[in-house]
Each structure stands twice: as structure tokens, then as C-alpha cells.
């Protein structure tokens, strides 16, 4: 009514202004919205930006011979605002997590004339790890069932929110849900002002690394893959498909660059994002949470469809035609140009339980860098030796016996067997169960080190 009248008046005036704009040389705008505080977006965000990988791949011949590119990057703390900016055409490429991606597609499809395409992934964790529920480090809560009736905060609308809802449904528990941004949630966990906080990557690990929080539920328990991806405005994709392909090539290159040398990558990414390199390492190292892979797998489509049903139940978002939204056209063309076998990559799915079996445990020595240890006794012995000499250790990494997920040594639950062997677990319940089957006992990280320092 009134709103439409006022909007109409404003439009009329502005149409006149834009019609009078002078003609200029052809410039293609490539405006990307990314999230420097969401690790899973880095291969389509901060890495591409800082290494200028998009510039490397942008077409410069044929119809692009005399084109100028106007490349801009905008950093957001979440996917929602990126979608809004894409609608206003201030951005034409967006990088975000699964739930925000769905909102993006559905919101665009709810308009008469605008659409986005989901053109590529960035990375995933098959088990759903990346999202987690964290409690204050001194809390007496150890499993999701303990959250019954408690105050739990989460950034509503995020992937972590979706996971929290599913976890509550799966475990038939009810709690008081509070809407909390990641930074505020992390601060409240540090101050013990909230019983638990559910968040996306890398917030849970930031809290663990800083010693303020402890995971009691990992996204892997929800059993739904956690993934991030790239959405592109249809007008950019239709008018300049080679630009979209160039962006996908840049995403591929970014992943390759990280895999080549995770230490170098995390060191630089810490400078670019402010997130501690030790935290980033748990995502980007060999055996880390994140499998860098831009391909669009059928399993991802299934996961996104499932996520959409969660959102429909909770937020009444518009319907989403996945067939119109998800397209492999651009990524297939990009892979073909690069001479990479798309179908081979698409068929490959990394399961941490299998892929991480037998990987060495690691100590990040402040001076000497990452040191690898094949067994936990060797690993513990090395820590004890370093401590004895006063050497500084940045961080330590072990693997969850159940899921194969990489963990900080200090936050893992340790089980010692009667023979003096060790096993590490993400969750206390599984550690206790394992201990009872082998007549072992659950001990702390410090106890485990103590057993090797003599």
C-alpha cells in the first residue's frame, strides 16, 4: 500500500537519473561476498583474494579482450547479509555455508526476475564436523542430554542452528534457545554466562584452543554432511560464463595451494583473518576437518534438501527448486579447461574414519614447527621431554578413535589401557565405554603426559 506508493515514487526519480548516465568502456564487475571468520569459505574467499587467484584466471581474450575487471571483496560475519547484498547487485558472487546457501537460493527464487545458481562447493566434512556445541570449560555438562532445560545460544539461521535443532530432535530434549552471535556466544562461554553455545567453524575450536570452552557435541553426531559453497547471480553467469569458470578455477587453485603446504597456508591465513594458525591447522592440515573439494556431489544435494526441510519447519522460508538452482555447467567447463577429471573428483568422498586411520599425532613446536609421532606413547613422551626443557609448544593434535576427527590433544578424552597403551576420544561417553570394555580408565591429558614423564 503506502510502502508501494513511496517505493514507486523513488523509483521513478531514479530511473530518470540512471537513464541519463553516460556510456563508458566495458567493465565487468566481479564483487564477491566472503567470510573471513568462517574457515570453510576460505578457498573461495580470503585465499583467492590475497593470492589474486581470480585475476590469474579471468579471461582476457576473445570477447574479453578489451574488458576491464572491477574486482571487489566484501567481508561478512555471516551469509545472510551476503544474500541481501547480492539481491541489490552490490555483490554478484557469494560464499556461504549450507543453510545460508539454501536461504539464498530460496529468496532469489521468490522474486519475479532474479535468480542465483549454486555453482561450486568449497569444502566439506562428510560427518558434519565443523559445527559443535560447546560448554564452559569448567561446566559439569558432558553430553547433549545434559542440556535438558538449560540455556543454549546459537546464531539463529546458521548451519550451527540447523545442527542444534536436529540434535535436539534426535535426542528428544528441550532447552531454552537464545539467539547469539558467534563473538558474543564465545564471550559468554568464556565468562560462564551461558550453559552452552552452538556455533560453526572455527568458533568451537577457537574456544577450545583458548581454553575457555569444551565440546560436548560435535556436528558429526547429527549424521548430515556439513558443506559450504559458491552462489552466483544468474545475470553474471549468463552474460559472462567464463568469469564464473575463472572463479571456480581460482577456488580449485586455492585448495591446491593449501594442500601443498598447510603450515605456510595457516600461517598466512592467520595474518589475513586474525584466527590463530593452530586453530586453522585443525581444519586445513592433512587429516583436518575440511576436505577441500569444489565438486557438487549427489550427497551434497541430498544434504541441502534435508537442510531445506529443517528451515521450512522452523522459519517458513520459500520453496526452492533445486533442479533450477544447482548447476554443474560451470564447474564442469572449468575442470575441462584445467584438464582435471571432474567425475573422478566428484566420485571421491573423504570419510575421516577411513582416511585418517594411521595418521601420525602432531606437536606444533613453537620453534621447530610440526613434529609427527606414530604412536600416542611417543607423542606423550615428546611432550614430556619438551616440557622438561622448557620448550614452548603451540598446540598438539590427536585423532578421535571413533570418528577419525582431528582433535586438540588437550581437549581429547584419554583412555589408558592396563598395558599402558592410550586411545583418544572426542566425547567422554565413548571414552568411558571404551575404557569399560578394555578394563582401562579415562584420564586427563595432563595425567597421560605425567605417565610418560619420569
Amino acid at each position: 500500500m503506502l510502502r508501494h506508493v513511496t517505493q514507486g515514487l523513488a523509483l521513478g526519480a531514479l530511473l530518470a537519473v540512471t537513464a541519463a548516465a553516460p556510456a563508458q568502456a566495458k567493465t565487468i564487475k566481479v564483487a564477491i561476498g566472503h567470510q573471513s571468520m568462517c574457515t570453510d569459505t576460505y578457498t573461495a574467499g580470503i585465499v583467492v583474494k590475497e593470492l589474486k587467484l581470480l585475476e590469474k584466471h579471468l579471461p582476457k581474450t576473445g570477447k574479453y579482450k578489451d574488458v576491464d575487471y572491477d574486482i571487489s571483496w566484501a567481508d561478512y560475519s555471516s551469509g545472510g547479509p551476503i544474500t541481501n547484498q547480492m539481491m541489490a547487485n552490490k555483490l554478484n558472487i557469494g560464499v556461504m555455508g549450507d543453510y545460508p546457501l539454501i536461504v539464498n537460493g530460496a529468496k532469489f527464487q521468490a522474486t519475479d526476475s532474479l535468480r542465483t545458481y549454486y555453482v561450486a562447493g568449497t569444502g566439506y566434512n562428510l560427518k558434519g564436523s565443523g559445527n559443535a556445541i560447546v560448554v564452559p570449560v569448567k561446566s559439569d555438562l558432558y553430553k547433549i542430554g545434559d542440556l535438558e532445560g538449560k540455556e543454549v545460544s546459537t546464531p539463529v539461521g546458521s548451519a550451527a542452528w540447523g545442527m542444534l535443532l536436529k540434535a535436539a530432535q534426535d535426542n528428544k530434549i528441550k532447552f531454552q534457545l537464545k539467539n547469539q552471535s558467534p563473538a558474543v556466544g564465545a564471550a559468554n562461554i568464556a565468562a560462564g554466562k551461558i550453559d552452552a553455545h552452538s556455533d560453526f567453524c572455527p568458533w568451537s575450536e577457537i574456544m577450545e584452543f583458548r581454553g575457555t570452552g569444551r565440546k560436548i557435541y560435535d556436528g558429526s553426531e547429527a549424521g548430515v554432511p556439513y558443506l559450504h559453497g559458491v552462489v552466483v547471480r544468474k545475470d553474471l553467469a549468463d552474460d559472462y560464463p567464463e568469469v564464473v569458470q575463472a572463479f571456480i578455477k581460482a577456488v580449485y587453485d586455492a585448495g591446491k595451494w593449501i594442500k601443498e603446504d598447510p603450515i605456510r597456508a595457516t600461517d598466512l591465513m592467520e595474518k589475513w583473518t586474525g584466527v590463530e594458525k593452530e586453530v586453522l591447522y585443525i581444519y586445513f592440515s592433512k587429516g583436518g576437518h575440511l576436505s577441500l573439494d569444489p565438486t557438487i556431489k549427489p550427497k551434497w544435494t541430498e544434504a541441502l534438501k534435508f537442510d531445506h526441510t529443517v528451515l521450512v519447519r522452523e522459519k517458513a522460508i520459500p520453496p526452492l527448486d533445486f533442479g533450477d538452482w544447482i548447476t554443474e555447467k560451470y564447474i564442469r567447463a572449468a575442470y575441462k579447461d584445467m584438464g582435471v577429471d571432474y567425475d573422478k573428483d566428484k566420485a571421491m568422498i573423504v570419510d575421516p574414519a577411513v582416511a585418517n586411520a594411521g595418521l601420525p599425532n602432531e606437536i606444533w613446536h613453537a620453534r621447530d614447527g610440526i613434529k609427527e609421532y606414530a604412536t600416542l606413547p611417543e607423542f606423550l613422551g615428546a611432550i614430556a621431554s619438551f616440557r622438561a626443557t622448557g620448550a614452548k609448544i603451540n598446540s598438539t593434535y590427536v585423532y578421535d578413535k571413533e570418528t577419525g576427527l582431528k582433535l586438540f590433544g588437550k581437549t581429547a578424552f584419554w583412555v589408558v589401557t592396563p598395558k599402558g597403551e592410550f586411545a583418544t576420544f572426542l566425547r567422554r561417553g565413548e571414552a568411558e565405554k571404551y575404557a569399560s570394555t578394555i578394563d582401562g580408565k579415562v584420564i586427563t591429558f595432563e595425567d597421560a603426559i605425567g605417565m610418560k614423564s619420569s
Binding site: 510502502r3 517505493q7 523509483l11 548516465a21 522474486t111 539461521g157 546458521s158 563473538a183 522459519k315
Partner: protein, 232 residues
């Protein structure tokens, strides 16, 4: 009762107190945004530490250029901001905006219309206090007040950066303490609540601008006429 007669009463009421009308029409939007700002500062116990001005005209021109459908265009323009003031949290990474107050010209326009309606109802209330019954004045005032609250509530432009949730009027409710589930549930009814608010304001205007009922105008006193010295 013709619409012209009602309009004439409204016009008379406004022209009788032009300064009051103008004061409310201009002062209400200022007070409205000042109140939102104060609510943020009080709620979060902190002053803002950043402010950004946006190229609203440039952004709108870009939307017009790149959006084929006029109906899409208007909906997107309605989301454009002119100014943002808020608090950035630098504890993590490069900083995250925890909360902010946004000045959105489309919303400001709606608030100005709301202010004009409030000003008109106020002048009418004053102009007709001797002509209408207390019940009508109180009733119309209450209906108008309710309408003002509903319209004001649905045009809140506060943001509480909640990861992937976009700024919406219910963020204001969430910030002020309403449960998240209740806020999200209410979000879908935003348009209806706003329409109901404007309908209440218009109803209030119509009620106040109507003629005094003859029965009310000639309402007999509860005292015996003879006791008041009236002719028998």
C-alpha cells in the same frame, strides 16, 4: 456523514494547531530513532564504536539498472541503508559487528507517515475534546495508540548480528528480550501487523472526525431537572 465533512474537521483541527502538528510530525521520527539507539545502548551496556554512511542513491541506481522486475526492484530498494551505527567486537578475527542501528530511507518514510498520523490524531483529540464523549475520545486514542505501537514495532531497523540471520523487525523484539522462537514465529506476520497498525490509525481518525452523536450531545443529566432550576 460525508468524507468531505470528516476531511474538513481534520483540516480544521490541524490548522488550529499547526505548530503542535509540525512538532509531532518532525519530532516523532527523531524520538523514534533516538529511542531505538537508547534501547541498544541500555540493552548492551556499551556505546557504539563505528558508523558507516552508504551511497544510497548510487546503490538504488544500481538496483534499478540490474533488476528487470519493478516489483522486485521496489522490494530490494526498500532494504537499502543510508547510515549504520553500531558496535564492533574485535575480540575475534578482524572484528564482528555485534549490534547496530540502521537508517533505511524506505522505513524512515513509513515512520514519517506514522508521525503525521499521530500528529493528526493528537490535534483532533484536542480539537474535539468538548464535542465528543469521553468514551469516544479515550477509545479513539487507545485505538490510535495501538496502531502507532504496531506500526512502530514493525519498522524497527535494529540488527543484532546473528550469523546467518538477516536484519528484520523481530531482531528488535529479540534484543528487547522476547524469546527467539516467539520472535521468529512472529516474523511471518510482520506485514499483517503493520497493516493492522495503519488500519487502527485510520479507524481512530475516522472515529474522531465523525459527528457527535445527537444522544450524546443532548445527554440528560443524572440530576433531576427541577433540582437544577430548569423550567418544569
Amino acid at each position: 456523514m460525508t468524507a468531505a465533512a470528516r476531511a474538513s474537521r481534520i483540516k480544521d483541527a490541524v490548522t488550529a494547531r499547526p505548530r503542535l502538528w509540525l512538532g509531532i510530525a518532525l519530532g516523532f521520527p527523531v524520538a523514534y530513532y533516538a529511542l531505538m539507539f537508547a534501547a541498544l545502548v541500555i540493552r548492551f551496556q556499551a556505546w557504539p564504536n563505528y558508523a558507516v554512511t552508504y551511497d544510497w542513491f548510487g546503490n538504488v541506481a544500481e538496483i534499478v539498472r540490474s533488476t528487470p522486475s519493478v516489483s522486485d526492484m521496489s522490494a530490494i530498494i526498500a532494504q537499502e541503508w543510508l547510515f549504520e551505527v553500531g558496535r564492533m567486537n574485535y575480540d575475534f578475527g578482524n572484528g564482528i559487528s555485534e549490534w547496530s542501528l540502521n537508517i533505511n530511507p524506505a522505513k524512515v518514510l513509513v515512520v514519517m507517515v506514522l508521525a503525521a498520523l499521530i500528529a493528526t490524531i493528537t490535534t483532533l483529540l484536542l480539537a474535539r475534546r468538548t464535542q465528543c464523549s469521553g468514551a469516544r475520545l479515550n477509545g479513539a486514542g487507545a485505538v490510535g495508540g495501538l496502531g502507532a505501537v504496531l506500526v512502530g514495532m514493525t519498522n524497527v531497523t535494529l540488527a543484532w548480528v546473528v550469523c546467518c540471520a538477516t536484519p528484520s523487525w523481530v531482531v528488535g523484539l529479540a534484543i528487547l528480550g522476547l524469546g527467539v522462537s516467539s520472535s521468529l514465529w512472529l516474523e511471518q506476520f510482520g506485514w499483517w501487523i503493520e497493516y493492522a497498525g495503519f488500519a487502527s490509525l485510520v479507524l481512530s481518525l475516522l472515529w474522531l472526525s465523525g459527528p457527535p452523536k445527537p444522544a450524546q450531545a443532548a445527554k440528560p443529566s443524572s440530576y433531576p431537572q427541577s433540582a437544577m432550576g430548569a423550567p418544569q
